[in-house]
Symmetry: C2
Subunit: 370 residues, 2 copies
């Protein structure tokens, strides 16, 4: 059972808005709003006042267009060859990542006889997407390359924003300014969830958080200022007592060192509980922590509940994987990854409930546990 608090997401967006004003705060809703259901999340953010949304792919924008009729929707991965007309039809503004992208989009604008909107991505140190320094210089020297484009703005992307004093962040900001100096003026966007907490210098005209909206801590060096967004619970199917020395699960990969009670819960890696949490993850039962023992199976996990009161653990009861007792970030740390991968890995097999913003603040434990 996956409960998603749309009010908490909207609240997080408002917190970030206040932080960055007068800069605009957009919302990143790519990858189905980080796995939480973009068709629910984006309208809740629009109702809160958000008017600019980032997706990765055209297709993600097309799905959202009907529920965001007036919003600017921007596709970070740009327009694939042959899909230009679909971008125009659904008003999904591409981010152009190379001179080649710019030339294709310009050719499309010419072919339809109408200026076409675009953001342009300048790489400042990710070495992943975006015009490199040489391409940016050529663009500055040959402004005719922008003819026919309605330039919405310039973006770049920080590589180490989650590390508060990483020198690359300041270096990237400096490069962004130097690269932009000879280029046409436009709105600028550099910071995401973590970057916007670093200093006002990173805000520029537009910030584009994703993870922070969904409750992931954007400032891992400090307490999380974001409200928790999801509650993930799973049913206890069975509780068994095993003797000292018994092995548990696939590969007999765990051996219990004492007579133990083992609870089997109905969640596994097919639900997004990563196999890398084997023998080191935790869940909470009746608000008490209990460790994962043995491997994670496709549909099941085994939990050592020996130290919990017997009455607290019974078939039909619930185990909390993520929620008030266990943050997304803590679950990620146990699996050796980041909260982003935990969220995008939540499978469709979970029964999902979206709490409407009007329901109020439901991010506290008592209200979740019904």
């Amino acid at each position: 059972m996956l409960t998603i608090d749309l009010g908490a997401i909207a609240g997080n967006w408002r917190t970030l808005c206040r932080r960055v004003a007068p800069a605009e705060c957009a919302a990143v809703v790519k990858a189905d709003a980080y796995g939480l259901g973009a068709a629910h999340v984006a309208p809740a953010l629009a109702a809160a006042g958000c008017t600019t949304f980032f997706v990765a792919l055209l297709e993600e924008g097309v799905v959202l267009r009907p529920c965001l009729p007036g919003a600017e929707i921007i596709a970070l991965l740009g327009a694939l060859p042959g899909r230009e007309a679909d971008h125009a039809h659904h008003r999904i503004v591409p981010v152009l990542n190379s001179l080649g992208d710019i030339a294709r989009w310009q050719a499309f604008a010419r072919s339809v006889g109408r200026r076409q909107p675009a953001w342009i991505h300048l790489d400042t140190g990710m070495n992943r997407l975006g015009l490199d320094a040489a391409e940016a210089r050529r663009l500055a020297e040959q402004p005719e390359r922008l003819a026919g484009l309605e330039l919405r703005g310039w973006i770049s992307h920080l590589a180490c924003a989650d590390q508060p004093h990483h020198p690359l962040s300041a270096a990237q900001l400096g490069r962004f300014h130097r690269t932009l100096a000879p280029l046409p003026a436009g709105r600028r966007s550099l910071a995401g969830s973590s970057g916007l907490w670093r200093s006002r210098a990173f805000h520029l005209e537009l910030v584009r958080p994703g993870a922070a909206l969904y409750g992931i801590n954007p400032t891992p060096e400090a307490a999380n200022l974001m409200r928790p967004v999801i509650m993930l619970k799973s049913r206890i199917l069975q509780v068994r007592t095993v003797d000292s020395g018994a092995t548990i699960g696939y590969g007999a990969a765990a051996t219990v060192a004492r007579r133990s009670r083992i609870a089997t819960i109905a969640v596994g890696y097919a639900d997004g509980a990563l196999r890398s949490s084997a023998n080191r993850g935790h869940v909470f039962i009746d608000r008490r922590p209990a460790p994962v023992v043995g491997r994670v199976s496709m549909d099941l996990m085994t939990i050592d509940v020996t130290d919990l009161p017997e009455a607290a653990v019974a078939p039909g009861g619930w185990a909390e994987l993520i929620g008030p007792d266990r943050s997304v970030d803590a679950a990620a740390a146990d699996a050796g990854t980041i909260g982003y991968e935990i969220l995008t890995g939540l499978s469709r097999r979970h029964h999902r409930v979206w709490l409407a913003p009007a329901t109020g603040n439901l991010a506290t434990g008592d209200q979740w546990t019904s």
Copy 2:
């Protein structure tokens, strides 16, 4: 782009049928047929002659019932309290995993005045689900516990079947026979994809492969006798040249030791490319291997293509993540996991194409690469 060869799946099922005859070969289609689309896979298997299907959850069976009108559908995780009538209505036979499960199912049968079908799971060493030895003894001593049940058979589950000579497999088989001796006769099922290759003694009356149907090697100690089933490709978005010493991607987690060409491809962990493949995975471009460099992002991966001919790597081209050049098992090994987790993690964001069995054998490279 994810291509799923239904003919290869049906062919793998036929191979396993021949291997285990006269035992029956069922098919495990839980977790959406290991991520490959149960609504496509199950009918293809039914057309090939399969009549028994295993799912994990009631809901998975309900979705499949309309496309498998005559088949036996069995839910491994049993009937949750309160859902008994749904099992009966959709004819999803529960596997009963404890005396408590048996008592509830019996009470339901009494309440509707009709015998209800069930499989019963005897634990022989997984310590995960199923009646333990003491519960099985009580069941043998109190046969009235089975009154009102139409006993379809007995199942157990091997913990170490993928290791050819692991002593636990023979021990589990012995325990299964000893536990069954005083119990009512019924069909017996112990082996899955790997267990059925161990020896005929494991076949009993019914085997229930999943992974092998989907091309995962059931005998990791030897060559894979299964046909490959999926092809996963992703677009090359951009190719850039970076100087020696440049850092790539998030966390500046990779530094190139020479002037390098880096290709960025449109696939990331939100698509199921696990972050644990960072700096150690490979893809194939133009049938040549190229290593993942830096972290895996949500929507993107960066690949070192310096050693590939320049003409072979261009924006708009394809990178093969899984296919004729790279097995599911190899991709899993790079990510530190098993093929099962790779398959169930394939996200809905991939454009999916199912090749109908009538299309013939499409599991060879040339036919895939259109």
